[in-house]
Symmetry: C2
């Protein structure tokens, strides 16, 4: 028999509130720091305003869309489903506002802290990231648990995940387009044509570029992992309920994912206090302590939880017995994937390692060989992560069946608070460096922020790997939950409609990536025109006597991103509905599998190729192979520019794509029976 943990959702809400309380504590400790001199405050304010303007515009654009879906859901599935959807969309937006509100205020404060101490600067920027991390994690846990307390049904609340994923989709696509349009525009005209350094205040696109770091990496990643967290928790609850239901119980299966969620958020909070560094130490070590600490604490807590909740073996079927130890094995699988994917991502993208250096080397024979080598590296880098995910799937299934796969995903996602924290820290450090530059501070400040920024690049790569790997596991959990809700006891790819679904699902990531990349191209084109216009028409700009019109550039990025996110967004949401109703539930099952597989591969390919190109360029800029100003460097810059929309727009958008396909399929599944 299993113990009955019926009050778990209440504890989960409480744990979520504890998370939010710490987010509040970190936020106020950040805001207490000095925001620096007037110039620094002015720049920081411009970034804040730009970021908020984008968020406002983005969410405003989505309001009619959210209302329409709300009405459709009310009509088709009842008000409970519609309310869950609305809450998911709202909480995702709230997490975005709260997190961005702090990270964009922390940038100048980090710069100011960097004037005195590396550890202090790390503290400010990491705590700002932790606000985002704990908001995402806390609101996710509270949302799922509170809705479950209210409606007492995991199937009803899965539209919470759909709400979160709809927002995430647009946040990823829109944020991705924004950040790269601004980045490419600022670099191509400012650095290349006008020959002024990065983050130079004379560059009209410099504020837009700094805003882009926030809306792309912070808000986009936050919404992405908020969605993964919500979707995985609910899918694991659904699968758990079914796995244990044959025994008349089902409560342990429902509650176990929430308990792991509680373990994860508390572990993240505790481990966030491990993050501190010496003045001459590498801040990477400090962040590693936070990340590894979270995983270790979660593992220990999970062991206690499964022992407590599953006191006797549960015989699910003839071949499968769930024991505490078996479920713990599945949980460990998720945590191991967490760490291995991070290490693999770092290997393929770090400028200390062979792959990026080979790309740098290939730049010696020109841009073409640089591109070929980068594409080959990205493609090659898909193999090992896929093997890791396959082994984890195999082992967790062997240990605890489909529920094991869901628990592996849940364990991985339970650490999301810390992952978002170390990811959001990156843009803060990046912005801090920009502000040091723009405010003309002593070069030693920039040196300190650069240390943090370079660590931020690694943590961004690790978080990207986490986002992709967890998206794949989430999608697998959604896929299995879909089969339950659609009453499919098999999804047979010998049935032609299933294989047609597989083909269409696999083609979507290609089409979606194409749209995203073209959108960046178009938006960057507008940006380039505007920056050139300002250099040409504003007298005294280059001499530093006149100020550029930052707001015009911010506006262009914002408008272009909002406009260009619509078509891919509708494509992602419309396709599963079309396939489901036209070709049936088998075809939709095939589509989910095809989309997950091809989306995972394309996402890894693009993220790692982009990261490797970026670091190959940095490797050359560090003085290798001739260093800056050589043809080798010029070739490496071309690779880096190609990699930008790869790694920051198209790649991350695919995570959102495969998950939104899954969550929308869960919603329509009962209608297809």
């Amino acid at each position: 028999m299993t113990m009955d943990f019926a009050s778990t959702p209440i504890w989960a809400v409480l744990a979520g509130l504890v998370g939010l309380a710490f987010a509040f504590y970190f936020a106020s400790s950040v805001l207490k720091e000095s925001p620096g001199n007037a110039r620094m405050q002015e720049i920081s304010l411009a970034i804040q305003e730009g970021a908020m303007a984008f968020l406002n515009r983005q969410y405003k654009t989505l309001i009619p869309f959210v209302i329409i879906i709300f009405l459709i859901l009310t009509f088709l599935k009842g008000w409970q489903t519609a309310v869950s959807f609305l809450v998911g969309a709202l909480l995702s937006a709230v997490a975005g506002y709260v997190g961005m509100g702090i990270t964009t205020r922390a940038n100048a404060r980090t710069t100011e802290a960097a004037r005195t101490s590396l550890n202090k600067a790390l503290g400010v920027s990491f705590r700002a990231g932790a606000v985002m991390g704990l908001s995402v994690n806390g609101l996710g846990l509270i949302g799922v648990a509170a809705l479950f307390l209210w409606f007492q049904d995991a199937e009803t609340i899965n539209s919470f995940a759909f709400g979160a994923s709809a927002i995430a989709l647009f946040a990823r696509v829109g944020g991705g387009i924004y950040t790269k349009a601004a980045d490419v525009g600022a670099d191509l005209v400012g650095k290349v044509e006008a020959g002024i350094p990065e983050d130079d205040p004379r560059n009209p696109a410099v504020i837009a570029d700094n805003v882009g770091d926030n809306v792309g990496d912070t808000a986009g990643m936050g919404a992405d992992l908020f969605e993964s967290y919500a979707a995985t928790t609910i899918a694991a609850m659904l699968i758990g309920a079914v796995a244990f239901k044959s025994l008349g119980g089902g409560v342990s299966g429902l509650m176990l994912p929430l308990m792991i969620g509680i373990a994860g958020i508390l572990s993240s909070i505790i481990a966030s206090f491990f993050v501190r560094t010496g003045e001459n130490a590498n801040p990477q070590t400090a962040l590693n302590k936070g990340l590894w600490g979270t995983n270790l604490l979660t593992a220990i807590a999970s062991y206690a939880i499964v022992q407590l909740m599953i006191t006797e073996p549960v015989h699910v079927s003839e071949s499968l017995t769930l024991t505490a130890n078996n479920i713990f094995i599945a949980i460990v699988c998720g945590l191991v994937v967490n760490i291995l994917i991070g290490l693999l991502t770092e290997y393929y993208t770090s400028n200390q390692k062979a792959p990026a250096q080979a790309i740098a080397k290939a730049s010696e024979t020109g841009a073409a060989t640089n591109i070929i080598q980068g594409l080959a590296t990205g493609m090659k880098s898909t193999a090992l992560p896929v093997v890791v995910i396959c082994v984890a799937t195999y082992v967790s299934f062997a240990a605890a069946g489909i529920f094991g796969i869901a628990m592996a995903a849940m364990a991985m996602l339970s650490t999301a608070g810390m992952v978002v924290a170390i990811d959001s820290f990156g843009p803060v450090a990046d912005n801090a460096g920009g502000i040091a530059e723009m405010a003309d501070l002593d070069p030693s400040v920039r040196k300190t922020t650069d240390k943090l920024d370079s660590v931020g690049n690694t943590t961004a790569a690790v978080a990207k790997g986490f986002a992709i790997g967890s998206a794949a596991l989430t999608a697998l959990a959604l896929f299995n939950a879909y089969s339950e809700l659609a009453h499919l006891d098999r999804i047979d790819i010998l049935v032609p409609t299933t294989i047609i679904g597989l083909f269409i699902g696999a083609a979507l990531p290609f089409l979606f990536s194409a749209f995203a990349m073209e959108a960046v191209g178009k938006a960057a084109f507008e940006m380039i025109g505007e920056v050139r216009r300002q250099f040409r028409e504003i007298p005294g700009l280059m001499e530093g006597k006149a100020k550029p019109d930052y707001r015009a550039c911010v506006d262009i990025s914002t408008k272009a991103a909002i406009r260009q996110m619509i078509v891919p967004g509708l494509l992602a949401i419309g396709s599963p509905i079309l396939v489901g109703f036209l070709l049936g539930k088998d075809a939709l099952g095939g589509m989910l599998a095809g989309g997950t597989v091809s989306g995972l591969l394309m996402a890894i390919f693009m993220a790692n190729a982009g990261g490797a190109w970026d670091n190959a360029k940095k490797y050359v800029e560090a003085g290798n192979l001739g260093g800056k100003g050589t043809p080798t460097h010029a070739a490496a810059v071309i690779g880096d520019t190609v990699g930008d929309p790869f790694k920051d727009t198209a790649g991350p958008s695919l995570n959102a794509l495969i998950k939104v396909m899954g969550t929308i399929s869960l919603i329509i599944a009962p209608l297809l029976i």
Copy 2:
């Protein structure tokens, strides 16, 4: 009841012999033409020798591998299976030798003919291509039919297809590496560094480059379609036998694919006489007449065949009745795919159309935007071909069940004779232009051959589309045949091992493409070193007083191609065996589906991106957007260079990859039960 066409294999052998007779007739008519002056003969001889040296070396390298598999098959599955394998490998090699023997002899003869008449030059080059086409088609049909007559069992002879696919795999990979290493080497050092024109006899890599056109496009494509032809025919026979077996008959189902094969080869022969052009007309029209004529004649003949063979409706199951008209619908689906994929490929790659022109336009802002636009175009171009294949699959299945899908594939492949002919015509025309240049003939000759060459680029794109589309349909047919032989009545992707297979299968094309692209990089690197060495060390070379050492460059391409083809080849053949025996037959089924889906998408992506980059460059070179010598042109050249290994090495190799995965799975299927 259905009529009994038990003697069909004899007719098929006869039809194949008729094909070979016409190949012989075309060959002697080509050889009767004047080979031109001494200089032209000398160059042509060098190309012949280079091509033959590569084929000899390649096949010699494969001998131990063929012997080992022969012994394993004898031991595991009996001598009949082993002999079928051997015959498949041998006939593929024979088709390669015969076809290449003629195309490399036809080049100088085409140049000579171009001195007097466009129509005559078209005649010589097209008839040379037709020798290759009819050899591939005739030997394929004879091989299948004769082995069936001997062993009377479709399952035994499927190792004929495996033999063909093993050779095709190495031919595609090796040929692809050869041609691009030579091309990149010749271009980078000759055109860019030394500033001499393309096909200049002072370039040491010029002969290797011309040899490459033959071994890549002619031998590679020939082996590829020989394999598709064999695999599809046998898979259709297997599926047909099962579909009709429930009625105690099965002969119609077995024989119908062979009858369509007979219709196809005879149609190709007849339509080859439609290929003639006026002096001022576009030779494209002449080749279109050949291609469309073949499709039309095949359709008409197929209609007669199904009416003759299926005189009464055959009730296969409650929901499926096979009638003559239903099967004819499936056949038409295959022929329509044929034409639509060709048109789509042309749309996405032609320099007359928007996609390639948008890439050219993007080159104005540099290489990075050119690359981004090209990648986006390639990704986007996957959608419509996938829709075409899905619709064809859906309609042919709705009309005639799984057998309908197999017959659609068979109908498409039945036109392979003509497709290979118009494809192989391209390298002949290309070589003819090179010879005109190297032999210093009047520019008017080059103008005539250029007309043919530009048509050759289009027909190459069409053939590439055909090769990819038919590979996908072949893979689907193999996949269904596999499920029959492995006694799988379902392949359920809710089973975790199946989805693991799906993941691994989908990852293979990424890994395989990475290997192929890196191999080109390494081989090109050696080639660049050698060409630079010769320019440096051979006195009087640049002044035209001394001759370069062509043979050294030919040797480098040959050795590098042979060496680099081994690892990807073993990966392709080893993976299905490993997955099948370690994870079981469901996982192998998932792997085939994953490999087919992802391989198709990657193949279309890479082929079309490469084609579009190539033509974007040609668009600029035609004088648009500033024309040659501008930064725009330089950017377009970089895109073209990136596209080379995409479209001519990695992309085409994926066709071979997905088919060899299928044929090897058929072999091991009975061992997995």
